[in-house]
């Protein structure tokens, strides 16, 4: 066994193997999707035309990238400059998030080769049209917000100057576009009052989607910062994250009040206690995603602890994912009179897309000035060594790859 082989094997970690398996399965599933259509690769049907790829890849993908517009507005519009150090990685997360949404759409659309039709064929009465345009425009905005990072690396100062002049209009456009389509993903379901289970159907769906995207935006900033600080040996800006944790509490409080008042005003309080799957999943979503993190993060001691913040963030993210999946899948099962569960190929594509996102993030972090405000610091690790190693592996960085 030569030295090269030994060096290669030392870089092979458990998570890298997992990633390789996921990507391979994803390639196979892609082949089936392309040759046998949606019927051959998914469990979608006439009664259940939207499934995991819409529920998770599109709806959660868009939501999980929400930290981008919120933080951008905070720094550039509301001029809260202290959050600037964590702005770049947040924009990277958002940009990757939207790219992955578009990739997910290319899988889910029946005729993805005609995806560009929305550019020239317009139906302004359609929420889907608005979503398509907002996603296109906002991805462009994110690319423009991300471009300075690339231009810096390539030392293209002319381009940098031009972008800087445009930065405020770009940020304003980004905030407006985000607000519009975070909410319009909820508006999509306004057309289905007889199909979506009453615990989720509300004329205020767009508002709920928007507010919950703000909450998960906070959570994603904490989540991504925590993982990145472990993986890339960067300092963790605890004071910033603590403040974001506090903001999350307020947003969750507002959201909880809105959801409760909605249930009360629509006179369906009794539905909260009917023993059926929808009820249990509703409570799970509200407890795990809203009530528990709300209570947890209220305590300053929790916000001061890295694990506490991280746990709170994970709960909010889980609750958010549950909410989107409840609206798109759980809430529609009863009226569709059919049981939908994603096929293994649907799952493998989704996992592959997420894995590709992690890989792209760590590649960008390694080769581009994303964390420029950080200095490599030896930290007192408050997480257990095993957890830290897990996080390092998850972001595919090993001891040998350190900058």
């Amino acid at each position: 066994m030569g030295l090269d082989m030994q060096k290669f094997l030392s870089k092979v970690t458990f998570w890298k193997v997992v990633a390789a398996i996921i990507l391979t399965a994803g390639i196979y599933s892609t082949y089936v999707r392309c040759t046998q259509g949606l019927g051959g690769s998914t469990h979608l049907s006439d009664k259940f035309p939207w499934g995991l790829w819409i529920g998770f890849d599109v709806l959660c993908g868009v939501g999980l990238a929400a930290g981008g517009f919120a933080l951008c507005a905070t720094v550039h519009i509301f001029n809260v400059r202290k959050f600037e150090p964590i702005l770049r990685p947040t924009i990277l997360t958002a940009f990757l998030g939207y790219l992955l949404v578009i990739v997910g759409l290319l899988y889910d659309l029946g005729r993805p080769f005609q995806i560009w039709h929305a550019i020239i064929m317009w139906n302004p009465h359609s929420v889907m049209f608005e979503v398509a345009w907002c996603v296109m425009l906002y991805t462009t905005v994110l690319a423009l917000e991300f471009a300075p990072i690339v231009l810096e690396k390539l030392n293209l100062t002319r381009g940098l100057k031009i972008l800087k002049k445009l930065s405020i209009p770009i940020v304003i456009a980004g905030v407006l576009l985000s607000t519009l389509h975070q909410s319009s993903l909820g508006s999509l379901y306004l057309i289905a009052p007889y199909k979506l289970y009453a615990l989720w159907y509300s004329p205020y769906l767009p508002l709920f989607f928007f507010v919950s995207s703000l909450a998960v935006g906070c959570a994603m900033v904490i989540f991504e910062s925590s993982l990145s600080s472990r993986a890339f040996r960067k300092s963790l800006e605890m004071d910033l994250l603590m403040q974001i944790g506090k903001i999350a509490v307020v947003v969750l409080g507002v959201y909880l009040t809105m959801r409760f008042m909605d249930v009360y005003n629509r006179r369906i309080l009794s539905l909260l206690f009917v023993p059926r799957t929808e009820t249990y999943l509703y409570w799970a979503e509200m407890i795990v995603g809203v009530i528990a993190p709300l209570i947890l993060l209220t305590f300053p001691a929790v916000r001061r602890s890295r694990s506490g913040l991280f746990l709170g963030a994970v709960m909010i993210i889980l609750g958010f994912v549950m909410d989107r999946l409840n609206v798109t899948i759980t809430g529609l099962q009863a009226s569709a009179a059919t049981r939908y569960a994603p096929s293994w190929m649907e799952l493998s594509i989704t996992l592959a897309i997420v894995t590709a996102g992690f890989i792209a993030f760590s590649l960008a972090a390694k080769h581009l000035p994303v964390f420029e405000h950080e200095t490599a610091v030896q930290e007192d690790l408050q997480l257990k060594p095993a957890t830290e190693a897990w996080i390092q592996d998850l972001t595919l960085v090993s001891e040998h790859d350190q900058l």
Binding site: N79, R111, P112, M121, M128, F129, S167, L190, Y194
Partner: protein, 261 residues
Amino acid sequence: MGDAKIMIPQKAMLIDITLCVGCNACQDACKEKNHLAGGKETRLSATAYTALEEHGDVFVRRLCQHCEEPACVSVCPVGAFTKTALGPVLYDESKCIGCRYCMQACPFQVPRYEWSSTKPRVQKCRLCADRLAEGRQTACAEACPTGATKFGNRDDLIREAHARINAEPDKYVHKIYGEEEAGGTSILYITSVPFEKLGFNTQLDKTPMPSLTWNALEKIPSIVSVGSVFLAGVWWITNRREEVARAEGRMPRKGGSSENH
């Protein structure tokens, strides 16, 4: 569209469920006319634009309702659906991107999909638009031996349906399904067995489906205009403070940092 409705009489079909004997001539004629794969089907599918559903010993013929204000027309992002002047709601596959929002939106669960195709189309009844343009009736109405399916002008058929109900008030349920549902449809039903027992969605009220999303969409210009003025204003205020602070020497001069603008 309002003027067109008055000028050109809208075509429609009246389905009298009490007259249907389940012979399936309608589906056979439809499949032949549209060159669909043969064989009897009891559910709508990509190869069955109409089908007879059995509810006990009652046959209920289902097909696209060709709504007055169709959900599919309003939700399609690329406008692949159109409500034509004569009544049929038509689908243009060349525009379709396959998002399947029409399937999600239709309150009657009508559009079906060619799931196993690599160039899938949405499939549903076309109300024989080409025959209508020639002044003929639909293939199914022509084939129906008992007159359970009757073709005609929408106003005339509604009058006739009311007449039939009034002539035998104990036989019929006093309602024409499709007269007002979701803003009114071109396929009208009368029955003696209550509609709820035959799988009809009886929760539908008069509200046209498109208005549900239009309520949200019509607010967008306001959100964009008010929002941009608000955000620009906040920026002006918060950044002005910083400029003043710098000028007064309270803050370090600008320059050096690459993020400031």
